[in-house]
Symmetry: C2
Amino acid sequence: MLTEGRAGGGVVAADHVSLRRNNLSVVLRHVRAAGPRSRARIAAETGLNKATVSSLVAELVDRGLLREGRAESERGALGRPGQLVELDGSAVCGVGAEINVDYLAVTALDLGGEIVTERRVPLDVAHLDPGTTLDQLAELISGAVRVVEARGGEAAGVTLAVPGLVQSTTGSLRLAPNLGWAELPIVDLMQERLDAPAYPVRVDNEANLAALAAYTELRKDTDGKAEDIVLLTGAVGVGGGMVAGGHLLPGGHGFSGEVGHMPVAPAGGICGCGRTGCWETVVGLTALLNKATDPDDPVRDPSLDVEQRLAEITRRAEAGEARTLRALADVGTWLGIGGAILVNILNPNALVLGGYFAVLGPWLKEPLESAIRDRVIAPDGGGCRVVQSELGFTAAVRGGALISLDQVFLDPTLIGRDATGVAQ
Amino acid sequence: MLTEGRAGGGVVAADHVSLRRNNLSVVLRHVRAAGPRSRARIAAETGLNKATVSSLVAELVDRGLLREGRAESERGALGRPGQLVELDGSAVCGVGAEINVDYLAVTALDLGGEIVTERRVPLDVAHLDPGTTLDQLAELISGAVRVVEARGGEAAGVTLAVPGLVQSTTGSLRLAPNLGWAELPIVDLMQERLDAPAYPVRVDNEANLAALAAYTELRKDTDGKAEDIVLLTGAVGVGGGMVAGGHLLPGGHGFSGEVGHMPVAPAGGICGCGRTGCWETVVGLTALLNKATDPDDPVRDPSLDVEQRLAEITRRAEAGEARTLRALADVGTWLGIGGAILVNILNPNALVLGGYFAVLGPWLKEPLESAIRDRVIAPDGGGCRVVQSELGFTAAVRGGALISLDQVFLDPTLIGRDATGVAQ
């Protein structure tokens, strides 16, 4: 029933302790969404009374989550200017850590979403055993947590981003075909390597996390309006992440977003999954390289990383090289053929291009939009716009850091329990 | 951000008035989901204290939404047996009203989801002008409301179910190809015909409403656990409705679920939408009839309604008629080919067969499941089971009635404002 849906799928009763916690969360989330503002304005905008807001802000300042900012200087403010309060970036960070086919990455974001530290290390993950890769990732994570702690902050949690089928509830990776990994208790393995840390460790699918990051970015451009989005991550494989009604759609068992295997090209090639004509056989990076280049083309040199490869493709497209442009137009059209299926099913406000699709977006976008217009049943292509993500290959790790911060925004009392904040 | 998502996409602050309203809603929804029970048990299960529950129940009884039931007789109940409280079916009804290609239907459900009145009238809607059809539907709705009022109840609202693209927010029907309707302010037109009624009138897509009804039914079998579902409605066209995380996925502009136009059969026939090879050209009812029968077969007689047609197909399948069985197996396989796309994208717990797919489910299910097992990337077909809806062609109108009741469950103070219930 919709009713229960609004309450997150269950019936939630509120007593006065949870009311206080809820209102702390409301104020903290409101300042994040709406930006620095006075206590009076927070009261007006949330419907809470001013005395309550003052007490809530005091507790959030005590917990190190908000801080006093500059004095209000807005036109039309009545009475004497109030002091603004803003998110305090120093107390707590969320950490995202990504394992992908050819790199590892880690990012720590403060409460305001600002980068505190980030690293990215090329690594031929598909040819290493999982233990070695996880050892190296654990070192990157520990390094990031040390940077956070050196600033006097604490890690709210670490979220691992993996390109594969993940069971978040049990912390296990079921299958990551492009890594060659299967059935790994990845959260347990990482917790061992981190010496059973105080912060929680989770795992999620990289396209889901990238979608979350893209959604958060887009919201800044839509005045905080929650839009439905479908994010497509283009790499060797193609993944999809969906946000609807303000939250991720993980699916009943966490396996949603396997868009790369839509059978759109019956005459197409053999897919890594063993089937014929999957979408990723016509829009994956390998398909683009096969269309745009000969086998001995230097752009296919295995020692190049993906960004070097894409820089070369971009250079050729900018130079008007005919074969490159034809290949990009072809991939763009196929992207629209599969994209139209997603738009017909989900009717998102935006189809967001991530990964290599974002980098080559200037050439993919027009044939993609044209294919969507032709194939979507709803008027005006369902009102769906095509957007290039500005996060590129950092979206998943950023989404991991954001989701790690989520628990703090839901329950600010998790942080600074030793502070002087009152309990009620 | 997930955080806001949990609160329905926005930041919601709670004061003591909204706390009371929230808790009335919690108790009412809990009794609906969990069944008749004592005040003590409601307190234990919701986490509210007993005195608060007694006061909330008293107000809900005053408002005519709960009533005293039989005495508790459960094993293991401590102390003297408590009085059970249960939903009171007499005060309020939700009304659903459906326009489909060849019939109109109306259903009024009481708070407990029991049918108070229902009617279904064959009508060749596609060959009438919209005004005539809406006149007839308005009469059916008025008749149902009179039945509700004659029992001393009131209508909480009316929801129109339409097989087409609907903009719920503006109450307009954008396009219903199989009715031949486009750009109708359908809610306004109906409100005029109902003489500006006191209850709200809404419109939604029939597959969305059918999905909501199917979800509500399934929840009874899963101990109230909220599952993600995709419902497929099989008629001349094929529609999809999706429930995830406890709520409908309407899409950014309300146009989701256009699954009938997935391009799965490039060698297939011409679709009503003008394209070639859409899913409904291989799984719609017309496709089945074309495969199973010759043009002069009496089962294609235009004067038959869909249930008579399906009864005859069922008779032939039960008799082991080879051509009918081949046609059903073929449709089942195509159903699985498109179904696998949906399961790969959405990973629902259940794929629910509605409309004619439900009626002929015994023959469609096995080839469908086999096609899904072959094509879904996640282990064990993503854990998705195939379920035949028991609601058949009544799902949409039932979903309309349920969604009409939703506002009452969200805010019980909407009903019985003249009752003696205290305001706080």
